[in-house]
Structure formats: structure tokens, C-alpha cells
Symmetry: C2
Subunit: 395 residues, 2 copies
């Protein structure tokens, strides 16, 4: 493509970020023609004369060949992206929830319309995760992937390991400092990490998961004694989007993990993100950087925009080959804990490995299938913290 | 390009690695037709009927459209690459010394012949450094880059920080375990890191340096007391390929650096490599992985080979813009040490900041220009350890 005429939806953190980035960089052949926002009266860093308020001003403008979809509302985003692709416009999106929920449909739609659908900014902000998987490891067989992809959770866990304290205190403080949303559910319960894992798995393994088949459990019920227990054994706890090939099948879930402090991924602190890859040929790679923030996330949008000048599109090489299949029923080893011993009793392990107490906290460690854990979690209303436990110890 | 017919020069570590990798992966449209090696009688993992011994068998074969140059000898490599480009064959090389020495000429030749010259494997083995700079950060302004790009030096430094001991003991041990060459000069004196820095600087900053304008000093004269001195102040010493924009000019050198332990790059241990980038938009990124080894390095060659199917070529975007100019005369702050106090006296600082002793070791810390340091080093035959010292302390 020789000229990009851009329609931008959304002027929040990422939308205004890419606006300012493109303004500062001023790349010939790249031009934002129209910006559509929802709420006219919202105060913004740019004069209101720059904005439109009707989606049609972009979608029905035949001049515009690229749509940047950078709004929060996943349903509205879906509708915009679908219409844009149907009108043969290239789309760049940062909306992980929308993409993960309608992944197959949107990929097929883009392919059948012969336009690009790019979304580097949806996974770990500024870190070029998808591009690296596509361009550098497309013909290397990945054996595992672990992502710290949620900055809020990693910030909270880092603070807790510096100074163990009740979760409620730390999340309030994180909200005050802008590191957590007023409703932090998507972040701390692993939903955000799950959407990102779904996007990544297709590029890394050629496996296309739906959100409801992947377990996500988060850090809401972590207690100071869990941290102490981890520290006593030289572990760190990280909220991990985990994918691994076991017996030629893919196991994938989002959960806190106890990780030995000797592993490099435990050195990722505060709001930083990281992706650890293990590949047949390249062995271990660790990419780290800023996973959020207006300008860092906009930098990933920028790299997608620029790549359209070279007609870049994802090849999804891994999906072309006979790769692994998802198995939602792998057995894993988990640690569960609660101040109330009775809350742990209904949990059924295949094999109980250990149980004990850490001060007033009760814990049990055992093995069970992911499906059984998922079913039990959906039934449980208790304040039980659940974390994957490494195979290497205590059994 | 629809079909790659490959001529492979060299069957050492990387050459045999890519041979086995391509055999295992078996990609349609990619085929090694001819392998040329130098020494017929050398024992190899593959039957001798697979080998030719004359460069012409590749260079004069019109069928062959891609040359993989994976030999050690930089002069022979230069001659092969030049001939291959002149015959309009695409070239993939892992020879950092050859590339850095003839960089401008070879880039221009490839461009004028309209073929690709790719060399991801020449910088940090399996880590996709150049591709990431080209594809993800081509329109972001880099402000600094630090590379741990020599596995041997990093292995030695890691071992020394675990257990301070004389350098001679540790290098002998590293040679025994295959982590150092019998002549380790290129690695431990910073030459290898310098060639890699030169290749990286052109992609990162658009600055094309010649080897003789960049200072390199290494770890040959490091002593247990230097390690103790660093540890006492919560520093690690790493051999760093350093580039930084200061006042719109590029300063670049290879030298050991004292780095506060709080910085992520200090967590890169043993033979691992890493590149830390700081960019206007993306902020800090750290890429880490295996910098050497037959199969990991071959994985980088593989990614270059595969990219030729999509007619990939480096855009050198940074070199198209009016970027920073190299300034070889920036002032830096250095630490110099020796058991013999007199050996330190001839060193002339602009400003002396501190001097003292660590047990029987004498040290001085001061500021001077890179050019002055380079000139003094070239004259000195003394066993003086030199390391860049951070600005943040002790002044």
C-alpha cells in the first residue's frame, strides 16, 4: 500500500497515544483523516473540532483504508471491526477481549476480504510478541510459553512480595496510584491474561481456543501467609498465562504459579510484562517490556500501522501445519489455601501430596485434572487461593 | 521468491546446525543443493558424498539463488559473499567480523544488485535482535542500547561473581568446559562484542561505524578484588556493547561496566545473551536468549532463510532519516585498577573523582574522553583492568 488514510475509533489512553505518536513522528504516506469518539462533552487534550461522533464518518468513507479500533467496549468494537473488514478496510485493534471472543470469525473474515487484521498492542503492550512469533519462530516448534501479561496483577504481587499484607489494602493502594481499575476483576481474576493467551496460542501453536474452554483463576484470595510460604521455599508467585506441549497436546490455563527464584521470569517486577518461550531450536527466549501505558502501547499500534505500508499480514504459519491439539483435561499440581480449614475440604484431588499450616493459614497440595479444578472452582464461593505448584518439590 | 535453492558454505557448528534443522523441519520450497567445505578429510556427522570442495560449485551454479555463508575465516567469507552478491544471489551470513569490517560496501552491493543480505545469526545467536529493530522499532527513536553479546565473557564474569578467583584459573576451566576458545582474545577483549555492536548500531540508530573508531576493552585483567569492590557497592560487572544518544550524538564503545544490581540486565547469567533497548515510545525492552550454540544460532539462520520466501530484505529505516552522528570523543567515567600502583599513574584523567585500595589492589576513578582512553590504552602494556563506572555514585 502506498498511502494509509486512517480512521481512528477512540481517544482514550491508547487512542490519544497513537495520535500524539503519529503527530510527533510525522511519517509521509500515513495520515489520520477522521477520529470518532463516543462522548462529545468529555474533556480531551485535542480541540473538539478534530472529532466526529458517528461511526459512519469512518466506515462509509471510501478514502479511509485503515481503521484503528482503540475503544474499550468489546461489543461496540466487534461491530466496528466487522463492518470495517466487510468494507475491505485494514483493521488494527488493541481489544483483546473482543478479539479473543470472536477470533476465528474475524480472522476468516479478514482473510476472505484480503485485508490485514493486526493486533500487536493487544498482547503485552509494547513487547513485539506476535511479530516475533510470526517472523522469527514461525518454523521453530514451540514447546512452551509463559506470559506475565497483566501489569496490575504483577504490580500487586511485586508489592506483596516486598511487604506481605492483606490483598484489600494493596489493591486500594494500587487503585490510588493508577495501577488498578476501580473494578479490577478483569485484571486480578485472570480474564485479561486469558484473552491474551488465546491470541498468543494461535500464533505460537496454531491452536485456536475459545474463552470458555480455558481455566482462569487469579490472585484475589492471596494472603500474606501464602507469600511467606512461597518465600520460605525460595519461590515467587506470578500470575501466568501458561501453555505447554505435553505428550503432543497443548495444556493451557491462567493461574498463579509458584516459580523457583532461580528462573529468569521471576525477575519481572511491578507493572512490567514478559513472555518466556521455549522452542526446539532457539531454546529459551525471554522478552520483557512495558505491557501498558498510553505511549508504550501506542508504540505497538505504530509498528502495525507502519507494517501496512509493506502490506504486512499475519501468515499464521503454525495453523497451516498439523500441530498439537488442545487438551483441557491435563492433570496439574495445585496448592490451595484458606484461613478456614472447612473451605478446603470440599476440594477433591486425584492425589493429595501434602497438607499443613502456615501460621493461621491452612493449605493442601495435590493433583487433579484441569477440568475437575474448573468445575470445582465454578461451584465454590469460598475465599480459597489457588496456585499451580511446581513438580520439582515436596512430592 | 517461490523456491529457495541453497548453497551452503561451511559445515562447522552453525553450518551443520542449519543442515540438521532444515532436514528435521523439511520446508517445501527450501532445498540445500550443494555444501562446500574446505577440508575433505575432516570427520563430519554427514557422509562425505554430500560435500563439494570448490567454491565455484555454488557460486557458478545458476540454479542456486541463496548462499549461506557460515565459515570462520573472515577473509575467505568476504570473498565468497562478494562474489555471491555480484552473481545476484541472496546471502545469509553469520560472520560478524567480516560483516562489520566490510559493512558499507556489502550493504551497498546487495542493494545495487537488488538481492537480500541477511545476518540475524551474527548478533546474539537465537535472539531476533535485528528483525525486532527493523520491524517493531523502525519508527520509534532509540535512545540507548546495551548488549551482553559475548557468551564466553558473560560465562566467565558470572563464575567470577559466584566465586572470585584469578582470571587465569577461570578461563582455563571455561576452555575445558567448551565455553571458551583455545585463543579467547576475540571474546574476552571485546572484539566480538564490537563487531556485533557495529551491526546493531546501523539498524538501531542508522549509524555506520568502522571497527577502528570504536574502543573495545575487555575482562582479561579483572581481579578478585575488583569483584569484591563491585559487590560491596551492589554492582555487577558485565561486558557491555554500549550505545547511547547524548546531546543528539551517538556514543558507542565496548567495555566492562559496573551496573547496579537493581537493573534487569544484571540478571543475565552464564553464556546467555541479552539486548536492552530504550526507546522514546516503547520505553525499555529486554530481549534475552541463547547467544551461541549450533542449533540456537541455526534457528536465527532459519528465520532468515524462511523470510526470503517472502522476499524479505532489511529496510534500514533509521539510515533513511537524519539521525544522530557518531561522536568518538564523549567523556566517560572509568574505574582503573592494578596490583601495582605505578601502573595506574601514567593514566591521565580530566578529573580524578576517587582513588583507594581494595585489599592489595589499587584503584582510581575519574573522567576522561573516549579518545583519550583509547589512545592511552593503545600505548599501555600494563595489566590494568578498566571498567566504566556509573554516574550515580561516589562523585
Amino acid at each position: 500500500m502506498s498511502k494509509l488514510t486512517i480512521g481512528l475509533f477512540g481517544f482514550g489512553s491508547v487512542g490519544s497515544g497513537i495520535y500524539h505518536v503519529l503527530k510527533k513522528r510525522s511519517i509521509p504516506d500515513i495520515n489520520i483523516k477522521t477520529i470518532v469518539v463516543k462522548t462529545p462533552q468529555k474533556p480531551r487534550s485535542v480541540d473538539s473540532s478534530n472529532f466526529s461522533y458517528k461511526a459512519e464518518d469512518i466506515l462509509e468513507d471510501a478514502d479511509i483504508n485503515v481503521v484503528l479500533e482503540l475503544i474499550d467496549d468489546a461489543d461496540a468494537a466487534y461491530s466496528i471491526v466487522k463492518k470495517a473488514l466487510n468494507r475491505k478496510k485494514h483493521v488494527i485493534s488493541a481489544n483483546k477481549k473482543m478479539l479473543a471472543t470472536h477470533y476465528q470469525e474475524l480472522i476468516y473474515l479478514a482473510q476472505s476480504q484480503r485485508v490485514s487484521l493486526l493486533y500487536e498492542a493487544a498482547v503485552c503492550g509494547s513487547i513485539p510478541v506476535l511479530r516475533t512469533l510470526e517472523e522469527s519462530f514461525s518454523h521453530d516448534t514451540l514447546t512452551s510459553l509463559r506470559a506475565i501479561s497483566n501489569g496490575t496483577s504483577n504490580y500487586v504481587l511485586t508489592r506483596l512480595f516486598q511487604n506481605p499484607q492483606p490483598f484489600e489494602d494493596i489493591i486500594t493502594d494500587a487503585q490510588k496510584h493508577g495501577f488498578a481499575e476501580s473494578d479490577p476483576t478483569l485484571d486480578i481474576d485472570g480474564w485479561d491474561s486469558k484473552y491474551k493467551l488465546i491470541l498468543t496460542n494461535y500464533h505460537a501453536f496454531g491452536v485456536l481456543n475459545s474463552p470458555d474452554e480455558i481455566l482462569n483463576t487469579g490472585i484475589r484470595h492471596i494472603k500474606p501467609e501464602d507469600i511467606e510460604f512461597a518465600k520460605d521455599q525460595n519461590f515467587t508467585i506470578k500470575l501466568i498465562g501458561h501453555s505447554k506441549i505435553v505428550d503432543d497436546q497443548l495444556e493451557a490455563y491462567v493461574a498463579p504459579q509458584f516459580i523457583p527464584n532461580s528462573e529468569a521470569i521471576t525477575s519481572i517486577h511491578f507493572e512490567n510484562n514478559a513472555v518466556e518461550l521455549n522452542a526446539d531450536f532457539a531454546h529459551q527466549q525471554l522478552l520483557q517490556g512495558k505491557g501498558a501505558g498510553s505511549i508504550p502501547t501506542a508504540s505497538a499500534v505504530l509498528s502495525d500501522v507502519v507494517s501496512l505500508l509493506k502490506s504486512y499480514t499475519y501468515a499464521y504459519t503454525k495453523a497451516q501445519y498439523n500441530g498439537p491439539h488442545f487438551n483441557g483435561d491435563k492433570r496439574i499440581k495445585v496448592y490451595i489455601s484458606s484461613y478456614i480449614e472447612e473451605d478446603l475440604i470440599p476440594f477433591e484431588f486425584d492425589t493429595e501430596v501434602l497438607h499443613g499450616t502456615q501460621r493461621k493459614l491452612h493449605y493442601r497440595i495435590g493433583k487433579l485434572s484441569l477440568q475437575s479444578l474448573k468445575a470445582q472452582l465454578e461451584l465454590s464461593s469460598k475465599e480459597v487461593f489457588i496456585s499451580v505448584f511446581p513438580e520439582l518439590n515436596l512430592n
